[in-house]
């Protein structure tokens, strides 16, 4: 069990190391890195905004619509989590399980329809 996920862990650690290695290579051979000349022009490290100076910071309070989608997503994600155990043993559970899941999804669909009608799914 753990052994199987050991591969996952290995991929995680190895992936991080590969990237760090690539960054290291880049840092060594790139023009402004270890071996290159330390050339630094002030304007080149400015924030890009189509060639003109930025106005204000980018860290502003952002639109609320994103938040509502995230909220909906959490709900449906929870639903799918219940859906999977049901789906794998669908044949075992038969009609009873099916009808129960219909009720479960149905209630959520009612919610989705409600949200749809009330304009949550509409981006201001």
């Amino acid at each position: 069990m753990l052994f199987k996920y050991g591969y996952v862990l290995a991929f995680l650690v190895a992936g991080v190391f590969f990237i760090l290695f690539a960054f290291l290579t880049n840092w060594i051979i790139s023009p402004n890195g270890l071996l290159g000349q330390k050339f630094h022009e002030n304007r080149s490290v400015d924030t890009y905004e189509c060639g003109v100076d930025t106005i204000g910071t980018a860290w502003v309070r952002f639109n609320v619509s994103f938040y509502l989608y995230a909220l909906l997503f959490v709900l449906f994600d929870v639903e799918t989590v219940f859906l999977y155990p049901w789906a794998v043993s669908f044949r075992k559970l038969g009609l009873v399980g099916f009808s129960e899941m219909i009720v479960f999804i149905g209630i959520l669909l009612v919610g989705l329809a409600y949200a749809w009608k009330k304009g949550v799914l509409k981006w201001e």
């Binding site: 052994f3 199987k4 996920y5 050991g6 591969y7 996952v8 862990l9 290995a10 991929f11 995680l12 190895a14 992936g15 991080v16 590969f18 990237i19 690539a22 290579t25 880049n26 840092w27 051979i29 790139s30 023009p31 402004n32 290159g36 080149s44 490290v45 400015d46 924030t47 890009y48 905004e49 189509c50 930025t54 910071t57 980018a58 860290w59 952002f62 994103f66 989608y69 995230a70 997503f73 449906f76 994600d77 799918t80 859906l83 999977y84 789906a87 794998v88 043993s89 669908f90 044949r91 009609l95 099916f98 219909i102 999804i105 669909l109 989705l112 749809w116 799914l121 509409k122 981006w123």
Partner: protein, 355 residues
Amino acid sequence: MSGSLKLLKLINVILEHVYKFLGLTNPIPEVINAFITAAISFAVISVFVMFLVWMERKVSAHMQSRIGPNRVGPFGLLQTLADAIKLTTKENMEPQKRDKIPYFIAPIIAFVATFMGVVVIPLDKGVTIQNLNIGVLYIIAITSFTVIGILTAGWSSNNKFSLIGGFRSAAQIISYEIPLVLSLVPVIMITGTLDLQKIVEYQAHAGYWFVGPQIIGFLVFLTASTAESNRAPFDIPEAESELTGGFHTEYSGIKFAMFFLGEYISIIIGSSVAVSVFLGGWIAPAFMNFLPVPGFFWFVIKVLLVIYLIMAFRWTFPRLRVDQLMDFGWKILIPIAILNIFLTGLWILWFSKGV
């Protein structure tokens, strides 16, 4: 036993002998094995991604009646390698006002999250890097992690384009994850397993691919996985004509390359899952059964075909607007996917005895 499995067994035996010779005991050989596998996967995937970038260029070029790369190497095959070298040796430009640590780790998250998904893809009969018995869920869970990388990149660059791109990307990925999950449920209902290897085997036994009965599911999955990997027509996070580069506007050189690599790996994973679940994975097409080629070959062919389809999407369609994208996900794909589950349920109940 398939050819590729034999080969793997052979390698395993050789490695075991080596470990025995060195006097290593459990669990160290296993750890070494895991890391060797990861290294090989990384190398193979990098080469495959390079091939895909070349393929994308060629496909797009020919669709637009151009030739595409043809200077570096035969048919321009080494063009991507040249680009990779260029990206590696490029000066690493970082905006002064960035948020340093998140800026640094964002490409790592974005890459590693997709890279971890490779583990469970069934390459051939009985050949998977590590078969997990809940493989489908694993891939979905792991790839959903990408969004944090992209969001971090968008936020830490302190650039308005990046910020908008990052947020769009987050909203998009979370919205399309649900149809993605829902479109796989009917297949799981039929097969009764979350193991990708077993799903493919079920198709081999049943004699048909799920793309037939589950055409709706396949289309929904293809759409959603295209959206998950931020590909056109769902490429609003990096929408070139609006946001110049989206979340990777401020990334250059190797860091940009990592996002790029991650994006392509996520395409590979998406189409691999599509192939395994809907297109019969490593099963040879019925009329070509006699050919003595390993299943891995068929798997790659199918993956390339699906990727070709995704590329054709990109070079044909305009880009959706962000709210239309959300509408499409929530108002069309999700209801259809749920309807598909419902219909499949009825279908199974109708044909299965004893209920």
